[in-house]
């Protein structure tokens, strides 16, 4: 398995607060990695640094062999990195269909593999069908339920045809069957060859999904390995005491 994402000694502070402290991590092509940790441990900051939403201060991030440096977020998306946001951020003035049109017009097209104008709408509808939102294609995001918004977030990330998808707490607050829905979607994507980093608090989902588990506590990586082993690690137990 070749290394798709390589993070080397990443550091980030906000004023006096150290959010990330010397994080090193690698994700291979097609791998399923779970990322867990208590609230405030730095998970979302890590995602933001990887995706370019926030600029890191120390260390380096490599994607598909390219050093990302201070590349803007849209450049990283074009390289094949996609993410969802913890709190869904749909384009509220656009229909669901048009929400998916954006990655197709800007990311996929920029790679030179663009769809013909006539094919774009069909492709958007197909994506919406995959997440079960085809019926609401002409609606606006404000007409969606929570879980539908999460699915739209995922669909939009999928539309960018990524090599690596970071799903940031896509399942928070969902029912058991809704969680299964999302998991099935993610497994399906993985089966197509997309590597996935799953950030979640729902342990059942993370354990069943991940090939590898990474644990972040107070900005530091304290464990990285097979899920069962990691959960038996005494340090991890300590971190989750009371959780």
């Amino acid at each position: 398995m070749s290394e798709l994402l390589a993070i080397d000694n990443l550091g980030k502070r906000f004023g006096g607060f150290i959010a990330l402290d010397g994080i090193s991590l690698a994700v291979g092509t097609g791998e399923r990695v779970g990322l867990i940790g208590p609230n405030g441990s730095g998970k979302s900051t890590l995602v933001n640094c990887i995706c370019g939403t926030v600029r890191h201060e120390a260390g380096a991030v490599y994607f598909d062999g390219h050093p990302l440096g201070s590349a803007a977020a849209h450049v990283r998306t074009r390289l094949g990195l996609a993410r969802t946001f913890q709190l869904p951020r749909p384009f509220v003035s656009l229909t669901l269909l048009d929400n998916l049109r954006i990655p197709l017009l800007y990311t996929v097209a920029a790679r030179g593999q663009g769809y013909a104008a006539s094919e774009i709408e069909a492709r958007c509808l197909a994506l919406l069908r995959e997440v079960g939102l085809e019926a609401k294609a002409r609606h606006r995001p404000r007409d969606l339920t929570q879980v539908e918004m999460r699915k739209l977030e995922l669909a939009r990330a999928m539309a960018a045809e990524p090599k690596l998808l970071i799903a940031d707490e896509s399942m928070a607050g969902l029912t058991h069957s809704e969680v299964e829905d999302i998991l099935m979607l993610l497994r399906h994507l993985n089966a197509e060859g997309i590597a996935i980093i799953l950030i979640e608090h729902i342990m059942r989902a993370v354990m069943s999904f991940s090939q590898r588990l990474v644990v972040l506590v107070s900005g530091r990586k304290i464990a990285d390995g097979a899920p069962e082993e990691v959960m038996r690690d005494p340090e991890v137990e300590k971190a989750y005491l009371g959780q």
């Binding site: 405030g40 977020a73 849209h74 998306t77 946001f85 951020r89 003035s93 954006i102 800007y106």
Partner: protein
Amino acid sequence: MRSDVFLLVCLGIGGAVFAAAVAFGNDYLFFAGYVVAQYVVLATAWNILGGYCGYVNFGSAAFFALGAYTTVAFYSFYPPLPVPALIVVGGLVSGVVGLGMGYLTLRLRGAFFAIATLALAVVLQTLVVNWDYVGGSRGAYIMRPETVAPLGNYVRYLFLAMLLLAVVAITAARLIERSRLGYGFATIRDDELAAEASGVPTLRLKLVATAISGALMGMAGAPFPYYIGYLQPSSTFGLDYAVNAIAMPLIGGTTTWIGPLVGAVLLGSLQQIATVTISSAVNLLIVGFLLVGFVIVAPNGIVGLFRQHVRHEPAGIVGRRRLGADAAGSAP
């Protein structure tokens, strides 16, 4: 409707308007019509950056004035440049300055961007006021030729030029709106962070919007010295243009090209009537009240009201989230 068909229709309408004005015979119509057409251009131009992208430009007057002062700077060229050439040059100058301004300010959060545009307008104004070649604070006199064959009156010629410019502006706005660029602008307005994450090169698009917006405003300003005869920095750079450039799209509706057109025609005509019947100070009072009123009661403007009550589309404010909330959306 395809864009070239639309262009022809607009040209037709513009021609009809001009013909009607000629038939009516009253020269004042051309003076008033020029101002209204000018506002159509200004409002449409502002809306490309303000309505489509959600970046509020308070310095509209600066671009307008740049176009005007470019004309003044070229005035001593003998023979004097014809108005269409001046429009192009004014547009280029303003477009380039717009690009520069964008480069300096577009990395700023919404509110700071708005304030920075105001600051730039004042800096530009100060530069012009201290440049004696264009008259400085004393102002500049421009002699308007008496007639232009075959239209007759020179003001008719100016009105026609401005009408054409308005057609160009509207066609361009509509073209942008329906293009890939327009979608990109909408994502910038809705959620810039998510736009970047979806692959939209937000800075580049914002620069394009600023350049186009600035260029159009400069084009609107280029014929102005010939229209007014005496150019004064304080009024040319004044906030009055800024408030109209903002009020007209907001009252008309910011999400489409129709909004600025409706807003400019309505508000512009209203102001002309008020100036003639009451006083020119009341103008701005009207603009102020209408602006405040619409923004509170009908945030999507006249176009929004139309969509809601005539087409029965669901209400819902379309536009940008908080100016300040550009944090990465979650706790560290």
